[in-house]
Symmetry: C2
Subunit: 195 residues, 2 copies
């Protein structure tokens, strides 16, 4: 096995490799909805929140004459932070978004230790930090404040369950309304909780 | 010419293509210094600020058995925002960093219209937004609040000069101190100006 950084790809990247079709189906819908929502927020001058580009380790680039540089060899890198951040009502916003087909729980294997560490730092510094989880089988999208995720994470590290039950999300998460333009209107949830 | 998005690469990407050696020499030093500074801030639990990954449009990926997915064709995309953002003392931080070999002025061609628009939105929403400019020939690095950049930008659009004079930076910018770990200690400048 050849990995440019000498490390095995993380489980989520491995998942992409093993099962690209299901991954892209699984990932695109929520991501597209959030991107569209963020574009709408931006157009309405409501918030400035963007998805970060996928981190790529570029190994080889061709520079053909009179045309664009072409990346000829590159590898996916593990993201060291969450996927989305920005600013809303003077507050720093930071979140990760995940979709699961699982009907009864959200597997914590979808989240990485360094992402949890990043989220903890963000909370420490006064940011608004959360997880957006879509249960695609239920067509429901939830907002879970990072603090509630940390509780599950620590419990997992102490031998507890490795997933967040759907029933917990129903009870402790906040269902994100679906609207025409704001397809995942998470700012309406932030308005309720933080302001 | 084949550009995947149907557009000509921007001047800065074209510059990379035309003159990759000088670009990487020119760009790496300040970027490395800022990355090191950000790592140190993170380790000290002082701030959470990261560089965004370079945006890449991925066209073709190989999935070899038993090894990492390989990007076989990709193109550099124009960034739609600035390169760095994060949180410090409960405030949203957003900036762009540029290095110039020019001795007498910083050419505004290094900045793009959509980056200016992004910076204006950030300021509107209450973020701390600025430019870090290094004059490598003088070994000096300056902090320029976004508002002062906007003034030059508007003046340029009205037929004014297309660069920010070094003398202006000396007078109106704030020189960023160089330290052992915080090689570009821009948070010390933020402490002075915003708190």
């Amino acid at each position: 096995m050849k990995y440019p950084n000498g490390k095995k790809p993380s489980s989520s990247i491995q998942q992409q490799i093993n099962n690209k079709t299901s991954f892209s189906n699984r990932g695109m819908t929520l991501e597209e909805d959030i991107n569209e929502t963020n574009n709408y927020y931006l157009l309405q001058n409501k918030a400035v929140i963007h998805k970060k580009p996928t981190p790529v380790q570029i190994v080889k680039v061709d520079y053909p004459k009179r045309s664009a540089a072409v990346i000829k060899e590159g590898y996916f890198k593990q993201a060291s932070t969450t996927d989305y951040n920005g600013i809303y009502r003077h507050r720093y916003i930071d979140f990760e978004a995940k979709e699961t087909k699982n009907k009864t729980s959200f597997p914590l294997a979808n989240i990485h230790e360094h992402q949890i560490n990043h989220m903890k730092s963000v909370v420490d510094h006064g940011g608004i930090c959360f997880l957006i989880i879509r249960f695609s089988s239920h067509s429901e999208t939830f907002f879970l404040p990072a603090m509630k995720l940390f509780t599950f994470w620590e419990s997992q590290n102490n031998g507890g369950r490795k997933s967040i039950p759907y029933s917990f999300m129903k009870r402790e998460g906040i269902k994100i309304p679906f609207k025409l333009h704001e397809r995942v209107d998470y700012l309406s949830v932030i308005d309720q909780i933080y302001f």
